[in-house]
């Protein structure tokens, strides 16, 4: 199947090519930058989890006994800000995307390596400023910064946090810019668009969103900060301004932002499903185009966050219809993944377990989104725990699981070591159980009326406390399950089994070079002559009607 012999792994790879702090902090190698991001996002995930733990501890009891409401406001705000802007948005693109995209297209690096490094520094600077704001006293406006509370009435560090997020946005923009230019101009000979791995397609679509959406939230945050400074502004009713305009501008980005969080995860899942069923993805072009469709349609639905915000009902109807429409490409992907599994040669390695978990949990999260797209039901569950459960099913059950799956799948490529499979499967199971126990009760709580962002609930409703206790128990299990990979992945760096260049025996371009790869990725520029996910040699393909049928490959 391969046209060229895989060269013996050179002793020099990107990890040991140069030593010393400067070689890492001034690196232009996209792989090292990916690892810099890996460390940083893991740190922010940890901080965000601490806030989550405090939230869950407070909600164990109906009374507000752990902290005052003002502290609780800061806790959930900071949980949201850290998790959304400093973990979920950069996690997969900036770690796995940075590491893999050049390799998957056969290039030596991204188009702009120095801008890549700059985007990491910008991310760190934005993060440090935000951490400063959190430590100095925190911010209590909710991660959504709604005016006029954030501009006029909040006594917290809104401007500092806003500045941190504003700066961080540039990191996102530069990463997206880099990916778009790279995919357009640096593909190896023979790597046509329709031979690209779906991971690349989904990151390309993600980059489109980053480019088109992030600037709008940037200017919005800037305007909020200026309003706070000037004590008047365009969102101020005293001057004739409209607070709802803030919501329009904010959600114009922040809804597509959730697709920034989930599209890369879908790209990872496409890779995992196809590769661990040893079968070509079913409907490659449909999956590729649905990534683009999600990116485009995702920009047309932001008003569903304003259904109860005095937005015009007619606009609401338009947004409701479009919100139903945006579910379709996601559904197409889910059907295609399932069809890929059918009659595949499935191996239940840890990455596959995470991918399967993604499909189930993302489906639940996505389908509950339909309740929210529907105007009537949205009014009932708006600002309740139903919403909280909905987005956590997608962001944790979806993105986090895909991130972990991808991390495990490409771990041998990144580190040259295998992780311990037994522990990995165990922790995947613990994460799955813990996650569902945490968030499934929240659907019920929300439906029954428990508002979000409240630190107390009625003592007279014992069923609510039962559900909250279950949720907190689940969160503890989830936390425990997430700490195990931290330990064994670190352990594997030193003691893990040394991985071969292509330990899973897969056809992807990134597996046709050493693990870990040399700094320039490939010793000679690859020339691509086969399709993505080509498991069976061409002579095993029969054309049945219009469709190609692959005979199952020998393992």
């Amino acid at each position: 199947m391969e046209e060229f012999v895989i060269p013996k792994p050179p002793r020099t790879n990107y990890l040991n090519a140069e030593y010393g702090l400067k070689s890492w902090l001034l690196t232009k190698d996209h792989k090292r930058i990916g690892l810099l991001y890996l460390g940083a996002v893991s740190f922010y995930f940890f901080i965000g989890s601490l806030y989550a733990m405090m939230i869950r501890l407070e909600l164990l009891t109906p009374q507000g006994d752990l902290m005052q409401s003002s502290t609780y406001n800061k806790t959930f705000t900071q949980h949201g800000i850290v998790m959304v802007f400093f973990f979920l948005i950069p996690a997969i693109p900036a770690t796995l995307g940075n590491f893999l995209i050049p390799m998957m297209i056969g290039a030596k690096d991204l188009a702009f390596p120095r801008i890549n490094l700059l985007s990491w520094y910008i991310y760190m600077i934005g993060g440090v400023i935000t951490i400063y704001a959190l430590l100095a006293g925190g911010v209590d406006t909710g991660w959504t910064f709604y005016v006029p509370y954030s501009t006029t009435f909040s006594n917290s560090y809104v401007i500092a946090t806003g500045v941190g997020i504003f700066i961080n946005g540039f990191s996102s923009i530069l990463t997206g810019l880099n990916f778009i230019v790279t995919v357009h101009t640096m593909r190896a000979p023979g790597m046509t668009w329709y031979r690209l791995p779906l991971f690349v397609w989904s990151h390309y679509a993600t980059s489109l969103i980053m480019i088109l959406g992030t600037p709008v939230v940037a200017i919005t945050i800037l305007l909020v900060a200026l309003e706070r400074l000037a004590h008047i502004g365009i969102f101020d009713p005293a001057a004739g301004g409209d607070p709802v305009l803030f919501q329009h501008l904010f959600w114009f980005y922040s809804h597509p932002a959730v697709y920034i969080m989930v599209l890369p995860a879908m790209g990872v899942v496409s890779e995992l499903i196809a590769n661990f069923s040893r079968k070509n993805i079913f409907g490659y072009k449909f999956v590729a185009y649905s990534s683009l469709a999600i990116a485009v349609l995702g920009f047309l639905v932001w008003g569903h966050h304003l259904f109860v915000a005095s937005q015009s009902v007619y606009a609401g109807m338009i947004f409701s219809f479009l919100s139903f429409a945006v579910a379709i490409p996601s559904a197409i992907k889910t059907f295609n993944w399932t069809a890929t599994l059918y009659k595949g040669s499935i191996s239940y390695d840890t990455p596959m377990l995470y991918a399967l978990g993604f499909i189930g949990l993302f489906t639940i999260g996505g389908m509950t989104g339909l309740f929210l797209a529907s105007l009537g039901t949205d009014i009932h569950v708006s600002d309740t725990y139903f919403i909280v459960a909905h987005f956590h099913y997608i962001m944790v059950g979806g993105t986090l699981l895909a991130y972990l799956g991808g991390l495990h799948y490409w771990w041998p490529k990144i580190s040259g070591r295998m992780y311990p499979e037994g522990w990995a499967r165990f922790s995947a199971l613990v994460v799955f159980v813990g996650f569902n126990l945490t968030f499934a009760p929240q659907f019920l709580l929300g439906y029954m009326g428990m508002p979000r962002r409240y630190h107390t609930y009625p003592v007279e409703l014992p069923s609510w406390q039962v559900l909250h206790v279950l949720s907190t128990a689940g969160a503890s299990i989830l936390g425990f399950g997430l700490m195990i990979p931290l330990i064994y992945l670190a352990w594997s760096l030193r003691y893990g089994r040394i991985a071969a260049a292509n330990p899973w025996n897969l056809p992807g371009l990134e597996w046709q070079t050493a693990s870990p790869p040399p700094t320039e990725n490939f010793l000679t520029t690859p020339i691509v002559t086969h399709e993505a996910y080509e498991f069976a040699p061409p002579e095993h393909k029969e054309v049945v009607g219009k469709f190609e049928k692959q005979a199952p490959a020998e393992t």
Binding site: L245, F299, L300, G303, S312, Y314
Partner: protein, 100 residues
């Protein structure tokens, strides 16, 4: 090099057109056109000036399809932002007689 070299003469012509456009737009601003036409005239002149800058100073006239696609995408997204936000503001009062 496949880059097209634009001649100075073209630049001079475009430059003069832009200055004329500026003078026109200032003059038109003082003339009271019926209805909302003042805005239409001003924006039309501005769009023509911008188009000249994009096509000739920014070499888009001589660039490949990808650059065109990028520009069209940006304008389309701006249009999305405007159009759908307006769909809220312009229809808010439709239900006002009903007291909603």
């Amino acid at each position: 090099m496949s880059a097209h070299i634009v001649q100075p003469r073209t630049y001079i012509v475009i430059f003069l057109a832009l200055m004329v456009g500026t003078a026109l737009t200032v003059m038109a601003a003082f003339y009271d056109f019926p209805g909302p036409l003042n805005v239409v005239v001003a924006l039309t002149i501005a769009c023509i000036k911008a188009t000249l800058v994009v096509l000739y100073f920014m070499h888009v006239r001589y660039s490949g399809r990808l650059v065109w696609l990028v520009i069209v995408a940006a304008l389309l997204w701006l249009a999305i932002l405007f159009a759908i936000t307006f769909s809220d503001y312009w229809t808010r009062h439709w239900l006002a007689p009903l007291g909603i």
